[in-house]
Structure formats: C-alpha cells, structure tokens
C-alpha cells in the first residue's frame, strides 16, 4: 500500500494546504518582497503560464465536447467551437436516462458508486478509529509490535491480495449472499458486500496509522480523568476520543471516499461487473472498450464520473489536500 511518507508529511499542520500557503504572504515593501520581484522574472511567469494552460486544456476539451452535438464532435475539433457553434444537453440525457440497451444507462452505476463509497469509507473509519484508540491508550508491551506490523502492511501492494481474497469470498461470502437473495429477493445475489469488505480491508492499515497519530496526541489527562470518574473505555471512546479526533476523521474520510470512488481495480475483481454492483469507473472503462469511438457518450460519461471528486476537491480543499498528502500512495 503506502510508503511511510505519511509520517513526515504536513498532515494536520497547515503547511500542506493550498490556502495555508497563501497565508505566508509577503508585502511588497519588505526585503522578502524585493527578493520575490527578482526571482519571479518574466520568463518564469511565461513558463508557468504555459504549464498551467497545458495542464488545463485536456480537461477543458473533454468538458466542452460533452456539451457539443454528436455530429459536431464526430466531424470537428472542439477548438473550432466558434466556427462550429452548438451546445446541447442531449449527450447527458442519453447517457443518464435513455433506457435502450445500447446506451450507457449510468443511473444505476451512479447509485452503485455512492453506495460503495459510502460504506467503503464508513466501515474503514469505524474499525480503524477503534483500533487506533486501543493502540494509543491501552498499554501492553506486545501491542507496540502489533502496531508496527499493521503499519508495515501498508507496503503490501493490492495485487498481492487479490487472488486469495477472491477465493475466500467465493467460499465463505457467496453462500451467504445466495441465502440473503433467497430470503429477500429484492436484493440481487451479486451485492455490495464483497466490494465493501475489500475496500475496508485494504484501507485499514493506512487509516489506523493516521488516526493513531492523531488520537495518541489527545492529552492523557483528559482520558485519565474520565477513567478515574468511572467512565468505561466505550464511553471514553464515544464521548471524548471521537469528538476530539473529528478533524483527522474528516480528512481521512474524504481521502478514502475519493479513493474508493475513483477505484477501478477492486471493483473489477470483486463487483462482478453487472449493473447490480459495478461503480461508474468500471462502467466507464467498459464503455471505452466497447464504444471507444462514440465520443458523445464517452465525454459525457467521463464528466459525470469525475464531477463528484471535483466538487469535493473545490469545496473541501483544505481537508482534501491534507488527506491526500497523507495517503498519496495507497493502493
């Protein structure tokens, strides 16, 4: 999974966040301001402008194209928009609402992505915070070794776990899924359980490590005082530790949500690929394979699949950057 980088990244501090970087502003009349003027020469400005434009153009091209009529996408480049104007919502309505068997029918997959990301995040978060509390506040010698072991598990690549885990699931989980389908026919035999469990299993080592770092910093006096007053570990965990750890929980939750939402590998192996379970990413990858030339479908579908992470990115940037820097190499 991850390298050990998280330990030293500016998690929880403000250095890493984009807004925080802005706080380190220098006034023009200070010495630093003068240094700045000479450092940011005209060439530097031009080069960074070029990089910025290069980085934006591909996404912008896809975005604009997703609103162009199919005929125009097929015959003209999106940069000729002013020569060939025309905007439509046709592409979006056809990938979302068309019920013909040849259309992408993204509705079901959007629901799947939300369902998978929601519980894939929540299960990880709940179990990780419990374990992190135990590691941080219940003292036994061998517990440290266990913690180091869990921490070390981050380096195991996902690929090492896929084959045996799939076998375990088909031996133990599959009969339970079949039984559930018999009892509640409305729930298909292929359900979310394997994908949820897989995401939780793969997410735990990093989650435990990050939350432990945070929970261990909660002042010992607070917890000792509560214990002396007769609070049980359960009460301390719910009433003191969780509320105090909210910022760390939020950062990790956002990171894990985006990670699960953007995942393709876990979905490919554990979802079964039908519209009962498969998330947007898997559907999009499938469309690229089968409808690779139908750009009116691909552009709209791709934009739908990336819009949620982008909204999270722009609205919760500070948390997002922290979480992301901490877990950049997960997987």
């Amino acid at each position: 999974m991850s390298s050990v980088a998280p330990a030293d990244l500016p998690v929880g501090k403000d250095l890493g966040s984009i807004e925080a970087a802005e706080q380190v502003t220098y006034r023009e009349d200070t010495k630093a301001g003068r240094v700045k003027k000479r450092l940011t020469s005209r060439t530097a400005t031009i080069v960074s402008l070029i990089i910025a434009v290069l980085w934006t153009i591909p996404t912008f091209g896809l975005f604009l194209s997703s609103f162009r009529p199919a005929e125009l996408i097929r015959t003209t480049g999106w940069w000729t928009y002013f020569a060939n104007p025309g905007l439509t919502l046709e592409n979006y309505s056809s990938v979302l609402f068309s019920t013909s068997s040849s259309s992408p029918q993204l509705g079901a997959y959007i629901v799947n992505s939300i369902a998978i990301a929601l519980l894939g995040t929540l299960i990880t978060l709940v179990f990780a915070s419990m374990a992190a509390y135990a590691f941080a506040w219940i003292k036994f010698k061998w517990v440290n070794w266990l913690f180091i072991f869990v921490f070390a598990l981050q380096i195991v690549p996902l690929q090492m776990a896929l084959v045996p885990l799939l076998q375990i699931f088909s031996t133990w989980l599959r009969p339970m899924q079949a039984w559930l389908h018999d009892v509640v026919p409305i729930i298909p035999e292929q359900n979310y359980a394997p994908v949820w469990l897989a995401h939780a299993m793969f997410g735990l080592p990093l989650a435990i490590f990050l939350l432990h770092n945070f929970i261990a910093e909660i002042p010992g006096d607070v917890i000792e005082a509560a214990r002396v007053d007769g609070a049980t570990h359960g009460q301390v965990f719910f009433r003191i530790v969780l509320p105090l750890a909210t910022p760390a929980l939020a950062s990790f939750a956002i990171f894990q949500f985006i990670w699960v939402w953007n995942d393709l590998l876990v979905a490919l192996i554990f979802s079964g690929g039908t519209q009962d379970v498969a998330p947007l990413t898997q559907r999009l990858a499938e469309l690229v394979g089968t409808r690779g030339q139908d750009w009116q479908l691909l552009t709209a579908s791709a934009f739908i699949s990336i819009v949620i992470p982008l909204i999270v990115f722009f609205s919760l940037q500070r948390y997002f950057v922290r979480g992301l820097l901490a877990g950049a190499t997960k997987g």
Partner: protein, 322 residues
C-alpha cells in the same frame, strides 16, 4: 434500473449500516461488561478485534498465499516456471522493461516540472489559482484521466478532420496523423504523459510547502554574496528541501510501479504497452494463469520494498537530526 433495483440497493445500504452499528454496539457492550480478571486485556481485544480480523483475512493471509501460489503450478506442484516465464517470454520481458521505463520517467519529470512550477509561482500574484490548476488532475480518477487523454490522442484516418488535439497540431504543421495508441514505442510514452499529468500536482504542492520553509535569510545572504538566481536555487533552495524531494520521488515511484488503471483504460496492455500491474491482472483474472499472476504480484512487491526501506531510513535520519 427499475424501482425494485433501486429499493434493493437502498435496502442493502441500510442493512449494511445496521449491521455495522450492531457489530460496534455489541462489541462495546461486551467490552464494558468484561470480567474483572484481566479486564484490560479483554477490552483491548474487543477494540482491536474487527480491524485485526479484516487485516488478517484481507492482507496477511492473502499475501502469504500469493507468495506460495507464485511457486506452484495450477495443480499445486512446486515449480519455478512462473518466474522463468516472466523472465524469458518476449512479451513478459517487454512488460518488465515498460515498467522500468515508467518508473524512470514519471518520478523524474513530475518532480522537475512540479519543482520548477513551485519555484516560478512562489509568492507571485494568484499563486493559489496557479496551484489549483496543476493540482486538480489528482482528484480525477485514472479512468477519467484515461478518457480525457484518449480524446487528445484520437486519430482520424484519411482526409477527415482530426478531432484529437495532438493529431490536429501535427496536421496543422503539415505532418501526417498518427495512430498514437497503436504505434509502439511512442504509445508507452504517451501513457506516461497521463501519469505525469496526474502526479505533477502532488509533487508541486509538497515541494511548494517545503520551499516556503527555506529561511529567507539564507536566500538574502546568498544574494548579497552576488550569486544569481540559478546558483541560489541549486545551492540554497535544493539542499533546503532535500527531505521533501526524497518523499516526493519515492512516493511517485511507488504509485508508478503499481500503475494499472491508465494502461487498462487506454490500451488494455495491447500494442506492447503492458506494465507489471496490468499484466498481473490480465494473467490472473483474464487468462486464469494464477501462478503467473502471483509471480508478477510478488515481483511488484519486491520492487516496491527497497524504495520503502530507503524512505523509512531517510525519515528516521531526519527525525534524529531534529
């Protein structure tokens, strides 16, 4: 999707939540009711139980099992064939070479571009917006990025107007359009561009934070000594951010070694573009060659290991200095 389907899905989520709440509730209940004797042990066990169970079933056992499978035939006899195949078959060797090309180019270019950009925009007006622009791709899934770039690389045969930006530029300068994704070896490099596009933002944000940590006095002192901007950059800034550079390079290297989604989406590993992670998936889950897939997974693990160990050592030394 019918209403029934949707209801079934909502029901699943509700049931999932209910089961999770029940498990946690029961655990906490029993933890608080633990017998007096050895109480702390029981409580610890209760808090650790779900996570340890998940980690054991999902990672520890599978990793051991994969290591064994790598040395077995499909009927369970011990063999080295899986590794022999990996290091002798031309297609498999090409996969290894591609992975090496990826891991040499992506971290290097991402870091250089990210660092240059971070230095250029440092303390400039609109720094925040410059950063957002470069950082945005990291929120986009690899699959989404794959589609975005496939569109850039799109090819139209004959005299038809090119709708892919890259070919349009080639044609505008009087060249012949190219089937980028099918043309070996340029296709591998074009896939690498996608990964660089995603990772540069990560490098930039981390390095930018590190650059702001370099004391202004040092820069000014160097300036008084009559050095030019480039000398100041090489002799003051770079040594000052060495730790961050190591973290960035190693982190991106590990992510690159595991690259799967981009290759899967854009070429599915065809036309000599496969990498270890993609080939592992193809062998184990498409060709049902469990042994070969496991061997590739093990190779991936072994490749990641030294980078992680190096990273740990650097971090530990930094801690000691502090």
């Amino acid at each position: 999707m019918t209403t029934g389907d949707l209801l079934g899905k909502i029901l699943q989520v509700v049931m999932g939540l209910a089961i999770l709440a029940a498990v946690v509730g029961l655990l906490i209940f029993f933890i608080d009711k633990a017998p007096k004797k050895g109480r702390d042990y029981w409580q610890l066990a209760g808090f650790l139980l779900p996570a340890m169970l998940f980690v054991t079933v999902g990672l520890v056992y599978p990793a051991i099992r994969t290591s064994i499978l790598a040395f077995q035939t499909s009927s369970g006899e011990w063999t080295m064939d899986n590794f022999i195949w990996t290091f002798t078959q031309p297609a498999a060797i090409r996969t290894l070479i591609n992975t090496i090309i990826w891991v040499l180019i992506v971290p290097t270019l991402s870091t250089i571009i990210g660092l240059a950009y971070a230095v250029f925009i440092d303390k400039s007006r609109g720094e925040k917006y410059y950063k957002v622009v470069l950082f945005m791709p990291i929120a986009i899934s690899f699959v989404g990025a794959g589609v975005i770039w496939r569109f850039v690389y799109e090819y139209r045969s004959g005299d038809r107007e090119q709708i892919g930006l890259l070919n349009a530029i080639i044609v505008a300068f009087g060249g012949e359009p190219v089937q980028w994704m099918q043309t070996d070896p340029i296709n591998t490099f074009l896939l690498i561009v996608v990964m660089i596009w995603i990772q540069t933002g990560f490098a930039m944000v981390l390095l930018s934070a590190a650059i702001k940590g370099v004391p202004t006095e040092q820069i000014e002192a160097a300036q008084l000594d009559g050095t030019n901007a480039w000398q100041r950059f090489i002799n003051v800034t770079v040594p000052g951010i060495r730790g961050a550079l190591v973290v960035v390079v190693t982190t991106i290297s590990i992510a690159t070694l595991k690259v799967f989604d981009i290759v899967r989406t854009m070429t599915a590993g065809n036309f000599n573009t496969s990498t270890i992670a993609n080939e592992m998936y193809t062998q184990a889950f498409r060709a049902s060659e469990i042994g070969r897939g496991s061997a590739l997974a093990l190779i991936l693990f072994i490749l990641v290991l030294p980078i992680v160990i190096y990273n740990v050592n650097v971090l530990r030394k930094q801690r000691e200095i502090r």
